[in-house]
């Protein structure tokens, strides 16, 4: 199989690392070669963070580059806009419809762009949801990232059962149920 590329972008602290662990787990269990790459350290302090996931028969480089992503998962609108050029022309864009102001916007040095999703779609399939609101409905605002993962999972070739199984193996035991519920909420949206 030709190597598939997934990118997760967001703001430091939004839980991109857990999402990538689940992705790594499912690809390993399905027998693929897989590489993931992520950012730690200073950039994580509320900065713009990126995680790359690549899987296939044999994966060499661990990063996804401009124009290569089959799926771009954005945990925040502005970050979707920052990285949309990494998406293939026919790639799928999943956006958590949430706004987090970066410091230049907070200090008034820059403006948060309006109509981001319309601006960047460029004829592509865009799926967006206010996953934080949905997560609050489910009872835990933190699981919004797993809802978004569920939305993205529809565009990858694994069964719902495979996903739920990997989630159960990856997240802490007492949060298995809420995370599986969150995944299904995204998967069936």
């Amino acid at each position: 199989m030709e190597t598939k590329n997934i990118m997760i972008v967001g703001v430091g602290g939004q839980g991109t690392l857990l999402t990538s662990r689940i992705l790594g787990g499912i690809m390993l269990s399905a027998g693929y070669d897989v590489k993931l790459s992520e950012v730690h350290g200073m950039a994580q302090r509320g900065g713009s963070v990126v995680t790359f996931v690549r899987y296939g028969d044999k994966v060499y480089e661990p990063i996804v580059e401009e124009g290569q992503a089959d799926v771009l998962i954005a945990f925040e609108r502005l970050e979707a806009m920052r990285y949309v050029q990494f998406l293939k022309k026919d790639g799928v864009l999943i956006v958590n419809d949430q706004r987090i102001d970066p410091m230049p916007v907070i200090t008034g040095a820059a403006e948060y762009p309006s109509n981001i999703i319309e601006t960047i779609s460029d004829g592509r399939a865009v799926y967006s949801m206010d996953a934080k609101a949905k997560a609050l409905e489910l009872g835990n605002s933190k699981v919004f990232n797993i809802i978004i993962l569920g939305m993205a999972a529809k565009h990858m070739n694994f069964s719902k059962e495979q996903w739920l199984d990997v989630i159960a193996k990856t997240v802490p035991e007492k949060t298995i149920e809420i995370n599986q519920k969150a995944f299904i909420a995204g998967y069936e949206s």
Binding site: L28, V34, E38, H40, M42, S48, Y60, P102, I106, P113
Partner: protein
């Protein structure tokens, strides 16, 4: 054998475990920190956080001298701190194998410079091994220990951010049962005085020549002969980019990059029409190849700056430019977290119109808008000594509107000597120790003043107040980092004194477990005068609404109350956390 997906750093820890390592010492530093955090999970290995890399290196040296395998991990700039023991230990050589894992940061994701560890290793005459993915990270560590003992040398395993923080599939193996080697007193080898060192220097030169000659038989160097029109000599993560873009080219993949395998390189160069050297940062392999009189192309085409990629290789060698339309969007630089005590200290320093000589940690972010308090940041521990130098150059009046700011972990790393020096040499500056009771930036590692070891065991906690007093500082004050009135009052008083002062600004890191304030901040729009004072500290939980009033994001707010202290109109309230 079990296969799992592992972070590069996790694989290194696993490799050390499987290699039979018994002692490991390190100081945290991105991108190397997770090695120790994973290695400590194996009960067979003694693992510690040392106060700095020099100490860590010497701990590993001592362990090696007694005949056990030892590991020492650090980031690239940490090797500068550890270079004193390293240069001499290179002469001494090992008893039990000794490996230093040094993590470089091409692209400068979380560092103060982009130095190439391989250059330091060349100067110290220490062999360097470079893995290119998680599996190799594990395998090469084991190989490094065997080579260390075979050639009587410490070995550096060089990683980079991209390798350390990428995950890949790793096949696990059992831990080797390595017997402790006997300890024997050996002055000629283990005591570096002029006469002994002269003899060992001869040995060190021969050691590198022997390794270069033997290197073609080492499994970590690999020849992949394909189409011979172009050939690459490459190593580490750069190898992956070559394979991605030129799957049919011939490749000499070096695991050992210092010294390089003499005969293997000559044979390979003779077989290919055009030879490229593709390596991140400095031309370490290239200079060695060129010194052999072999024609090759390297840094004429490939930059010494930043991180490489497959697209970079496509652009340079295939003239393929990938350019999708992109948008001009506001930057999102890293920021201090909501509820961070550093923000409050910087707010006070800003009110007092003070300059700060800065240091290395989360709090270096105090250089950026809207705080903008820090004027300088050089390296770990430098804040105190640079302030001292300023005073000696320009007199005590010059530093009357200055302080030094340094974190608790950084203070214990290398700030201590600088403070001692201030007292000894009759300085008058003020040092603010930003004590958040943890090593913050690297993700919460304990240190000598937290009362806990890497293993999580309770231990003696250094008393910073008594420590500063013991160094001769008469003015030591402790203030809560969140008390704006007290902070401004105390710092103002201390800066005015003609003596060395230490102000310990104390409040735990907002991200520490259990560190949740009982209340949250809530904006009261009816009382808001839209003056914007609460926005000045730059807390990301606060947003200015279109009408000039302020909203506070309930999930982001940590409840530190700094914004409430900034408001003169009681337009921010504290409510009990739900």
């Amino acid at each position: 054998m079990e296969k799992i997906v592992m972070l590069g750093n996790e694989a290194i820890a696993r490799g050390a475990y499987e290699a039979g390592v018994k002692v490991s010492a390190a100081y945290p530093g991105t991108p190397s920190t997770e090695i120790s955090e994973n290695l400590v999970k194996y009960d067979e290995v003694y693992c510690e956080w040392s106060p700095n890399e020099k100490v860590a290196c010497e701990v590993a040296i001592g362990a090696s001298m007694t005949g056990v395998r030892s590991l020492c991990c650090m980031k690239h700039v940490g090797l500068n701190v550890a270079s004193d023991p390293l240069y001499s230990f290179s002469y001494i050589g090992v008893n039990g194998g000794m490996v230093l894992v040094v993590a470089d940061d091409p692209g400068i994701y979380s560092s103060q410079n982009e130095q190439d560890t391989r250059m330091v290793a060349r100067a110290a005459m220490v062999p360097v091994i470079e893995p290119s993915d998680s599996q190799e990270a594990k395998d090469f560590i084991k190989e490094a220990f065997d080579l260390s003992e075979k050639y009587d040398t410490p070995i550096i395993v060089r990683t980079t951010t991209r390798l350390a923080h990428s995950q890949g599939i790793v096949t696990l193996e059992e831990r080797k049962n390595i017997e402790d080697k006997p300890y024997e007193k050996n002055i000629a080898k283990n005591v570096m005085m002029p006469a002994q060192a002269k003899a060992r220097h001869i040995f060190v030169e021969k050691r590198l020549k022997d390794m270069a000659a033997d290197a073609e038989f080492m499994s970590i160097n690999r020849l992949e002969m394909n189409d011979t029109k172009i050939g690459f000599i490459t190593s580490g993560i750069a190898y992956q980019y070559v394979k991605e873009v030129f799957p049919k080219a011939s490749v000499l993949k070096l695991g050992l990059v210092n010294p390089i395998p003499d005969k293997m390189v000559r044979d390979f160069a003779a077989k290919v029409d055009k030879l490229y050297i593709f390596e991140e940062l400095e031309p370490v392999i290239e200079l060695q190849v060129k010194a052999m009189g072999i024609e090759c192309i390297g840094k004429e085409l490939f930059t010494v700056q930043g991180e490489y990629s497959a697209n970079m290789l496509r652009r340079v060698l295939k003239n393929e430019e990938v350019k999708n339309p992109s948008f001009d969007v506001p930057q999102r630089p890293p920021i201090l977290c909501p509820g961070c005590p550093h923000r409050s200290v910087y707010t006070a320093l800003k009110k007092l119109k003070l300059h700060a000589a800065g240091d290395i940690g989360c709090y270096t972010l105090g250089a950026l808008a809207p705080l903008g308090v820090i004027d300088t940041a050089v390296c770990m521990g430098s804040s105190i000594s640079t302030l001292h130098g300023m005073e000696k150059a320009r007199g005590k009046e010059f530093i009357k509107d200055w302080v030094a700011v340094i974190g608790d972990s950084t203070f214990l790393h290398t700030g201590l000597n600088s403070l001692m020096n201030m007292v000894y040499n009759k300085a008058t500056g003020t040092v603010c120790i930003l004590d958040n009771s943890i090593t913050g930036m690297t993700g919460h590692q304990d240190h000598a003043a937290t009362g806990k070891t890497l293993k999580g065991d309770a231990t003696y906690a250094v008393d910073l107040v008594e420590l500063c007093k013991a160094l001769g500082v008469e003015n030591v004050r402790v203030v809560s980092s969140f008390d704006q009135d007290e902070l401004t009052k105390v710092i103002k008083e201390e800066v005015a004194k003609d003596a060395v002062s230490v102000v310990i600004c104390k409040a735990p890191c907002a991200l520490l477990k259990g560190q949740i304030f009982p209340n949250k901040c809530v904006a009261l729009p009816e009382k808001c005068k839209k003056c914007g004072a609460c926005l000045k500290p730059g807390c990301p939980a606060l947003t200015k609404n279109a009408d000039g009033s302020v909203s506070i994001d309930a999930t982001m707010c940590n409840g530190c109350g700094l914004c409430k202290q900034m408001c003169k109109f009681d337009a921010i309230d504290m409510v009990k956390r739900a």
